[in-house]
Symmetry: C2
Subunit: 223 residues, 2 copies
C-alpha cells in the first residue's frame, strides 16, 4: 500500500469518504453500494468506484463495500491509526478552539502542549493543557516526541516560529497564519487561510447576484 502512488485529487477527497463512512458505521450500516454512497455524498457512482479502486478490492460487484473495512483502510492510509503528538502555538480563540475539539484526539492527534507569548495567557489551563511561554519550546518538543504543530499566531510572528519548530524537529505544520511558510522539503505544511476562504465565498455570492441581475435585465427586454 505504501508504495502505491495516489493522486493528490483522490487524497483530497479521502477525508470526506472517511467522514461519511464513519457516520454510516455509527448508524449501524455494514454494507453500502457505490450507488447508495453516491446519493448520500452527491458524487457520481463512477467517481466513487474510481477513487476507491485506488486501494484495490474494497468493493465487490453486486455486494457493495464493507463499511467497516473501508473505514479502517482509509484511516490507515490517512495515518489516523498512528498517534500524532501535536502542539498548538498561539493560545488565542483559534488555538483554544482547536484544543477544545475532542474529535481530534479520537483520531490519534494528541495535544501535548499549548504555547503563547502573551503573559496574560501563560499559566492558564485549557482542557487540562497548560499554556506555556515559547522559551522552552525546543526542549518541550524533544521531551514529548512532538512531530506536529498548529500555528495559530499572527502572520508577522509565524515565519520565525516556523523556523524554530523545524530546527527542533517538527515535521508537519498546520498553518493558520496568513502567510506562506518556507520550510525544507522533508517538512509538510497544510495551510488554512480563512480569509481566502471567505473571499471565495464572496466571489461566489457576488457572481450569483450579478447573474441574477443580468437575467432580470434580459427579462425586462433591456439589452
Amino acid at each position: 500500500m505504501e508504495n502505491r502512488e495516489i493522486s493528490k485529487a483522490v487524497i483530497t477527497r479521502l477525508p470526506r469518504y472517511y467522514r461519511y463512512l464513519g457516520e454510516l458505521l455509527e448508524s449501524g450500516v455494514e454494507r453500502i453500494s457505490s450507488n447508495e454512497l453516491s446519493t448520500r455524498m452527491k458524487v457520481t457512482a463512477s467517481q466513487i468506484r474510481q477513487d476507491l479502486n485506488n486501494f484495490g478490492g474494497f468493493g465487490q460487484q453486486g455486494y457493495g463495500y464493507n463499511v467497516k473495512y473501508l473505514y479502517t483502510e482509509i484511516g490507515k492510509i490517512l495515518g489516523i491509526d498512528r498517534q500524532h503528538n501535536l502542539i498548538i502555538i498561539g493560545a488565542g480563540n483559534l488555538g483554544q478552539a482547536i484544543a477544545n475539539y475532542a474529535n481530534f484526539e479520537k483520531r490519534g492527534f494528541i495535544i501535548k502542549g499549548m504555547f503563547d507569548i502573551n503573559p496574560r495567557l501563560i499559566g492558564l489551563v485549557v482542557r487540562g493543557i497548560e499554556i506555556r511561554g515559547v522559551d522552552d519550546l525546543e526542549q518541550f518538543i524533544k521531551d514529548n516526541d512532538v512531530q506536529m504543530a498548529a500555528l495559530t499566531i499572527p502572520k508577522t510572528k509565524a515565519p520565525e516560529i516556523a523556523d524554530r519548530l523545524v530546527n527542533a524537529g517538527i515535521k508537519a505544520i498546520w498553518n493558520f497564519a496568513h502567510v506562506d511558510l518556507n520550510v525544507p522539503d522533508d517538512v509538510v505544511v497544510e495551510n488554512v487561510h480563512l480569509s481566502e476562504s471567505l473571499m471565495r465565498l464572496s466571489y461566489r455570492v457576488c457572481s450569483m447576484q450579478d447573474r441574477k441581475k443580468e437575467e432580470e435585465r434580459k427579462a425586462r427586454g433591456e439589452s
Copy 2:
C-alpha cells in the same frame, strides 16, 4: 467582466494573488513583472500570466503589472469592493476568533451580530457585538440586511439552523460545521472542514515517513 466565465481553479488562486499584491502595495512596490511575482509566490511565471490574462490587459510586455490596479481589479472580481453584512452563529472559540479578526472588516465583511444557544454566552459582548439568542434570528436578518452567515456550531445543530438561515433570506453560508449542508441552488456554501484538513496533513507526513523508511531499508541493502 461580469459575463466572463473564469475557471474554478483560477478563482481558487485569486485570493492568494490578492494577498501578495496587498503585501507589495504595503511595501510600496508599484510595478512587478510576472517573473518577480513568480519567484515570490513560487508559481511559474507562465501560470501567473495565464491566470491574470483572464482579466485582460493587466500586464504589459516588458513593463510588468501595475500592482495597485491589479489589486483593485482582483478585489472587485472577488466582491471585496462591496459590503457584505455577516452574522456568526455559534459564539464559542471559533466564532469569537472570526469576530476578532479585524482584517475581515477592512475587506467589506461587516459583522452585524453573533448568536448562540448557550445561555451563559447570551448577553456577552465580543468586540462590540452582543451575543444574542437564536429566537430573533429571522427578524435580525431582515432588520440588518444580512446576506452572509458563518456557521460555527456543532454538526448536529447545523442543518436545522442552515434551513432557518436560508428561509430568512441568507444567500451565503461559511460553514465550519463538520457536515455537508443541503441548500437551494441560489445559496452558496463554502466549507471549512478543519478535521479534513488535519487528516490531509497526517496523510502527507505519514507518506513522507514511509518513503524515508523505504529508502533507508533500500540503502541497507534489504529488499
